[in-house]
C-alpha cells in the first residue's frame, strides 16, 4: 500500500524541485537585473556603484550556477512559459545542453565584472560606466535566455537583446572614430547574421506551422539542409567562423577589455550553441551536415591562427585566435556529426564532448588572455606587440597568469586546452576506420588539428616572448606597473582553473557528456569507457607534473654550492646592442605567414637605402585577411556603386516622399 503514496510523494517532491530549479534560474536573472538598475541609479556614488554592482552580479551568477546543478546531472527538462502580446508564447527551458552553455555565462561574467572595479577607474566617466554596467546586465541576461529559449519567438527576441546590448557595450569609447567604425561593422554583421537566422527559422516555420522547436524534426530532408545552412551562416557570423569573422578583429580591440573578454569568451559561444541546438532539433543525420561544419571548422581554425600570427595588435591577435578556437570547436562538432551519420557512436560522443568542453575551456583562457592584454594595454598605452617587452618583470602576477593562459590555449598538457583537443583527436581517430569521403574528412580534421596546435604554440610563444619577456622596447613598456588586486584575482582564478581542469579532467568531461543527452539521435558511449580514458589522461598529466617537480628538485640539487653570476645577455661579440635589436614579433612570424602565402596577403612597404649616407629607412609589413579583401572588393564596392546609381530616389522633396508612401501602401494592398 505504501508504494503508490511513496510514488506520489516522490512525484510531488520532484515536481517541486523541478519548478524550484526554473524558479531559481529566474530568480538569478531578476537579481542580475536588479544589479543593472542599481548601477544606473547610484552612478553618482562611483565606488559604491561599482562595489554594489559587482556584489549583486556575483550573487546573481552564483544563484544561476546553483540553478543549473540539477540539469547538469540529468534531471528532467523543465519549461517556463508566459504569453506575450496575446498571440505569442514565450517559452524557456533548461535541458543539459542549455545548462552546459550556462556554465561559462555564470562563471566567467562575474570574474570579468570584478575585473572592471580597478579597470574602469575614471570617476569622471561614472555615468558612462553606470550605463555600461546596465547594458552589461542585459548582455548577461540575454545570453542566459538565448541558451534557454525554447521556441522560435523567444529565441529571436532574446537573440536580438543579446546582439543589441553587446553593440551598445562595444561603443563605450564613442568619441573615437575608430571605435564607432568598428562598432558599425559589428552591427552590420550581427544584424546580417540575425537575418540569416530568421530566414532559417521562417523557412522551418513554413513547413511546420508551429513555433515550437520540437516540430523541426518533421521538415523534409532536403529543406533541412537549407534550414541548417542558413542557420550555420547566421550563427557562424556571431561565432566568428571564417569567412564571416571580420567583425571580431575590429570589435574586440575597440571594446573595453572586460567586454572583449566576455564577448570573446562567452558571447561568441552562443553562435556555437545555436549550431549545435539546431542540429539537435533538426534531428538530421545526413553526412552533408557534418562535412559542412567540419570544412568550415578546418578553414576557420587554420586561417584564424595564421592571421593571428601575422597580426601585430595584441587584441586583434587575440580576436583571430578566437576564430581559430571556434574552428577547433566546429571541427569537434563536425566530427561528432559525421560520427552520428555513419553510426559510429564513439566518434560522435567524443567529437561532441570535446567540442563542448572546448567551449568551456576557451571561455576560461580566452577571457583570461583578454583581461591580461587589457591591463597591459591600460598600463602601457601601447597596442603594438613590437613596442612592448619585458612586462613579466614589471607585472609578475599578470604575466604569470597570461603565461598560463597561453600554454592552455596552445593545447599543451597538463592544462585544460589539451583535454578538449585530446577528446576531439580521440573521436576523430575513431572515424579513421570508415571508408570513402568520411575517412578523408576525418583524416584532414586530424591533420588540421595538428597544424592548428603547432601554429597556436607558435602564435602564443610570440605573444609571451615578445610582450612579456626580453627587454622593453619602448619607454612606455618600461614604465608598466602591476595592476590592482581586483584585476589580478580574477586572472589568477582563471589560471588556476586552467590547471585544475587539466589535472582533474574527469568531472568536467562527464559534465560535457551529460550535455550530449540533448542531442537526441546520439547514444553516448558508456560512462565506464569515458571514466577510464579521462582517468588515464589525468594520470598522464599528473605524471608529467611529477616528473617536472622531480626535475626541479634535481636542478636545485645540482645547483647546491654553485657559483651563480649575473651578466648581460651574450651579444655574440656585438657590443653596442640596444633593446631595439631584439627579434620582433613580425620577424618571428614572417616565415610561417609566408608559407601560407596564397591565403594571406602580406603588404610590404620599404623605403630602400638610397644614398651613401642613407637617411632614416622604414620597413613596414601588414598581414591582411583575404575574406576582408574579398568582401570589400567583390561585394561592398560593387554594391556601393549600384546604390550610388539609385541616389536620385532621395532628392529631398517631401511631397514626393509622401507619394512614395502612397504607392507603397497601394501596392501592398493590391498584392497581399
Amino acid at each position: 500500500m505504501g508504494c503508490p503514496i511513496d510514488t506520489t510523494l516522490t512525484i510531488v517532491l520532484y515536481d517541486l524541485i523541478r519548478r524550484g530549479m526554473m524558479d531559481t534560474f529566474l530568480l538569478s536573472l531578476t537579481v542580475l537585473l536588479a544589479g543593472g538598475l542599481f548601477a544606473l541609479l547610484t552612478c553618482k556614488l562611483f565606488s559604491l556603484m561599482k562595489a554594489g554592482y559587482i556584489t549583486i552580479t556575483a550573487v546573481g551568477c552564483m544563484i544561476g550556477l546553483y540553478a543549473i546543478i540539477g540539469p547538469l546531472q540529468g534531471t528532467e527538462v523543465t519549461t517556463y512559459s508566459i504569453s506575450w502580446l496575446q498571440i505569442f508564447t514565450l517559452s524557456f527551458s533548461i535541458d543539459p545542453l542549455s545548462a552546459f552553455f550556462l556554465i561559462p555565462i555564470f562563471a566567467i561574467c562575474p570574474l570579468a565584472v570584478l575585473y572592471s572595479f580597478h579597470y574602469m577607474d575614471k570617476a569622471e566617466q561614472r555615468l558612462r560606466i553606470g550605463v555600461n554596467f546596465f547594458f552589461l546586465t542585459f548582455l548577461i541576461i540575454g545570453m542566459a535566455l538565448v541558451a534557454t529559449a525554447d521556441n522560435i519567438i523567444s529565441f529571436a527576441l532574446v537573440w536580438e537583446i543579446m546582439s543589441l546590448s553587446s553593440f551598445l557595450l562595444v561603443i563605450y569609447d564613442y568619441h573615437e572614430k575608430e571605435t564607432r567604425k568598428a562598432d558599425y561593422i559589428y552591427f552590420i554583421f550581427a544584424q546580417a547574421g540575425a537575418m540569416f537566422i530568421f530566414a532559417s527559422i521562417a523557412l522551418a516555420y513554413s513547413y511546420t506551422g508551429s513555433y515550437s522547436f520540437s516540430t523541426f524534426a518533421v521538415i523534409p530532408a532536403n529543406i533541412k539542409v537549407i534550414v541548417f545552412f542558413l542557420a550555420l551562416v547566421g550563427f557562424g557570423s556571431k561565432a566568428g567562423m571564417f569567412p564571416l569573422q571580420m567583425w571580431l578583429p575590429h570589435a574586440h580591440p575597440a571594446a573595453p577589455s572586460n567586454i572583449s573578454a566576455m564577448m570573446s569568451g562567452v558571447m561568441i559561444k552562443m553562435g556555437i550553441y545555436g549550431i549545435i541546438r539546431f542540429y539537435a532539433i533538426l534531428n538530421a543525420t545526413e553526412l552533408v551536415f557534418g562535412e559542412m561544419v567540419l570544412t568550415f571548422g578546418m578553414v576557420s581554425g587554420i586561417l584564424g591562427v595564421v592571421y593571428a600570427l601575422g597580426k601585430n595588435d595584441l587584441k586583434k591577435l587575440l580576436a583571430y585566435s578566437s576564430v581559430e578556437n571556434i574552428g577547433i570547436i566546429l571541427i569537434g562538432a563536425g566530427i561528432g556529426m559525421i560520427g552520428l551519420s555513419s553510426g559510429n557512436m564513439a566518434m560522435a560522443s567524443f567529437g561532441f564532448a570535446g567540442s563542448l568542453l572546448h567551449v568551456l575551456n576557451h571561455s576560461i583562457f580566452k577571457s583570461l588572455l583578454f583581461l591580461g592584454a587589457g591591463i597591459v594595454l591600460k598600463k602601457t598605452g601601447v597596442r603594438q606587440i613590437d613596442q612592448l617587452g619585458g612586462i613579466l618583470k614589471r607585472m609578475p602576477k599578470t604575466g604569470s597568469a597570461f603565461l598560463t593562459g597561453s600554454i592552455s590555449i596552445s593545447g599543451l598538457p597538463p592544462f585544460n586546452g589539451f583535454v578538449s583537443e585530446f577528446l576531439i583527436y580521440y573521436g576523430a581517430f575513431q572515424g579513421l576506420l570508415l571508408d570513402g569521403s568520411p575517412f578523408i574528412f576525418t583524416m584532414l580534421a586530424i591533420l588540421s588539428l595538428s597544424i592548428i596546435g603547432g601554429l597556436a604554440a607558435t602564435c602564443f610563444t610570440k605573444v609571451v616572448g615578445i610582450v612579456f619577456l626580453g627587454e622593453p622596447r619602448t619607454a612606455k613598456a618600461a614604465d608598466a606597473q602591476e595592476a590592482g588586486i581586483t584585476i589580478t584575482i580574477p586572472m589568477t582564478i582563471m589560471a588556476v582553473s586552467c590547471l585544475v581542469i587539466g589535472i582533474f579532467p574527469t568531472p568536467f568531461v562527464q559534465t560535457a557528456f551529460m550535455a550530449l543527452k540533448s542531442i537526441k539521435p546520439l547514444v553516448p558511449v558508456g560512462s565506464e569507457e569515458v571514466a577510464v580514458l579521462t582517468g588515464n589522461l589525468a594520470i598522464a598529466a599528473r605524471i608529467f607534473l611529477a616528473v617536472f617537480l622531480f626535475s626541479m628538485l634535481l636542478r636545485k640539487v645540482l645547483y647546491l654550492r654553485k657559483e651563480i653570476t649575473h651578466n648581460p645577455t651574450w651579444g655574440c661579440g656585438f657590443t653596442q646592442g640596444t633593446t631595439r635589436i631584439q627579434y620582433t614579433g613580425t620577424s618571428y612570424a614572417m616565415s610561417v605567414v609566408d608559407f601560407f602565402r596564397p591565403f594571406v596577403r602580406v603588404k610590404t612597404r620599404y623605403s630602400g637605402i638610397k644614398r651613401i649616407f642613407p637617411r632614416q629607412t622604414t620597413y613596414n609589413t601588414s598581414v591582411e585577411d583575404i575574406s576582408e579583401i574579398a568582401l570589400v572588393d567583390h561585394l561592398a564596392i560593387p554594391f556601393l556603386y549600384f546604390m550610388r546609381k539609385l541616389r536620385w530616389i532621395q532628392h529631398g522633396h517631401i511631397q514626393l516622399y509622401i507619394g512614395y508612401i502612397i504607392v507603397a501602401i497601394v501596392a501592398l494592398l493590391l498584392f497581399v
Binding site: 596552445s410 589539451f418 579513421l432 626580453g470 651563480i564 655574440c572 631584439q582
Partner: protein
C-alpha cells in the same frame, strides 16, 4: 623488472649514442675523432660548473631546461624498448606524448626569447616553424598506424598481437614511414641537412642558438633532454625495422641495440655525405616526409587491406 631495466638503460645510454655519430663523422673525415664517451665527459664537466644568468631573464629562463628535460623523460616512460611492456601505456597515449614534447619545445622557445638576444629569437622562430611541419608528418604516421592496427598507443603498435613492423603485412608502406620518420628525426633533433650542430655561425643555427645563454647544469639538462629525444626517435624507427617474436630475452635486446646503433651510424653517414640545406628548402624537406606518409595513408583506402 625488465621494464624498469630497459627504461633505466635507455636513459643512461642515451648520451653514448651521439658519440657513435661523431665517430662515424670522424671516420669519413679521415680523423680519429673524440672518444666514444665524449658526451658523458661533457655532461660531467657541465654539472661541475656554476651558471651565468643574463640580467634580462626571468624565472621563465630557468624553467626552460627543466620543462624540456621533464618532457623528454616523460615521453620515454611510455616507450616499449625492445618490445618490453613500457612503464605506462593507455589507449591514446601517443597523442599525449607528442603534445608533451610540444610543451617542452614551448618552454625552450620562450626561454630563448627571454634573453632578449636577436639571435636566439631567430633560432626560436625557425624551431617553431619547422617543428610545426614535422608534427604534421608525425600525426599522419599516427593516422596510418591507426588504419593498420586500430590502436593509439605505442605499446600496442610495437608489442601487441599484430605489431607494426617492416616484416609484417603491408611492409611496403612501413618502408615509407621509416624514411619519413628518419627525415623527421633529422629535423626535430637538429641534425644535418636541416641544422648543423657543429656550425660556428650563430646566424645559421636553429637549435644551438636558442641555448646560447644557458650554462652549467642548466645546459646539461638541456643536453640530456636532447639525447633522450634523439633516442626516442631512433628507437621508434628501430621498432619499425625490428623483426618480432623471433627471439626472447637478452638476444632480443642485443638485436635491438644493434639496429639502434645502426640508425645512429646512418645518421652519421647522412651528416657526412650531405650538405646543409638552404634555410628556405627545409620546409620542402619536411613536407616531402609528410607527402610520403600521407601517400601511404591514402593507399590504405581500400587498396592495401
Amino acid at each position: 623488472m625488465e621494464t624498469y631495466i630497459s627504461f633505466a638503460l635507455a636513459v643512461l645510454a642515451a648520451p653514448l649514442f651521439p658519440g657513435i655519430i661523431l665517430k662515424v663523422k670522424a671516420f669519413f673525415a679521415g680523423k680519429n675523432g673524440p672518444p666514444l664517451l665524449i658526451k658523458y665527459y661533457t655532461l660531467i664537466k657541465l654539472l661541475r660548473k656554476g651558471s651565468v644568468y643574463s640580467t634580462s631573464t626571468t624565472f621563465v629562463f630557468k624553467l626552460g631546461p627543466i620543462v624540456s628535460f621533464a618532457a623528454a623523460l616523460t615521453v620515454l616512460l611510455f616507450f616499449p624498448f625492445a618490445g618490453q611492456a613500457p612503464l605506462l601505456s593507455f589507449h591514446g597515449d601517443v597523442i599525449v606524448l607528442f603534445y608533451i614534447m610540444g610543451i617542452g619545445r614551448f618552454f625552450t622557445v620562450i626561454a630563448a626569447l627571454d634573453t632578449a638576444s636577436p639571435f636566439e629569437g631567430m633560432g626560436a622562430a625557425r624551431e617553431v616553424f619547422f617543428s610545426t611541419l614535422a608534427e604534421v608528418t608525425i600525426f599522419t604516421v599516427l593516422i596510418l598506424f591507426y588504419r593498420m592496427s586500430g590502436s593509439l598507443s605505442l605499446a600496442t603498435y610495437f608489442t601487441g598481437e599484430n605489431p607494426i613492423t617492416l616484416m609484417g603485412q603491408s611492409g611496403a608502406l612501413i618502408l615509407l614511414v621509416i624514411i619519413a620518420m628518419f627525415m623527421v628525426l633529422l629535423a626535430e633533433n637538429s641534425r644535418v641537412p636541416v641544422d648543423d650542430p657543429a656550425t660556428h655561425l650563430e646566424l645559421t643555427m636553429i637549435h644551438e642558438v636558442m641555448i646560447l645563454d644557458h650554462s652549467g647544469p642548466d645546459l646539461a639538462l638541456i643536453e640530456i633532454g636532447a639525447f633522450l629525444k634523439l633516442i626516442f626517435y631512433a628507437a621508434f624507427i628501430t621498432q619499425l625495422i625490428f623483426p618480432f617474436d623471433v627471439l626472447n630475452g637478452i638476444t632480443r635486446g642485443l638485436i635491438f641495440l644493434g639496429i639502434l646503433s645502426l640508425i645512429y651510424v646512418f645518421i652519421g653517414i647522412t651528416e657526412s655525405i650531405m650538405a646543409r640545406f638552404r634555410m628556405d628548402l627545409v620546409p620542402k624537406f619536411i613536407l616531402t616526409s609528410f607527402a610520403l606518409v600521407f601517400f601511404a595513408a591514402i593507399l590504405t583506402m581500400g587498396v592495401f587491406q
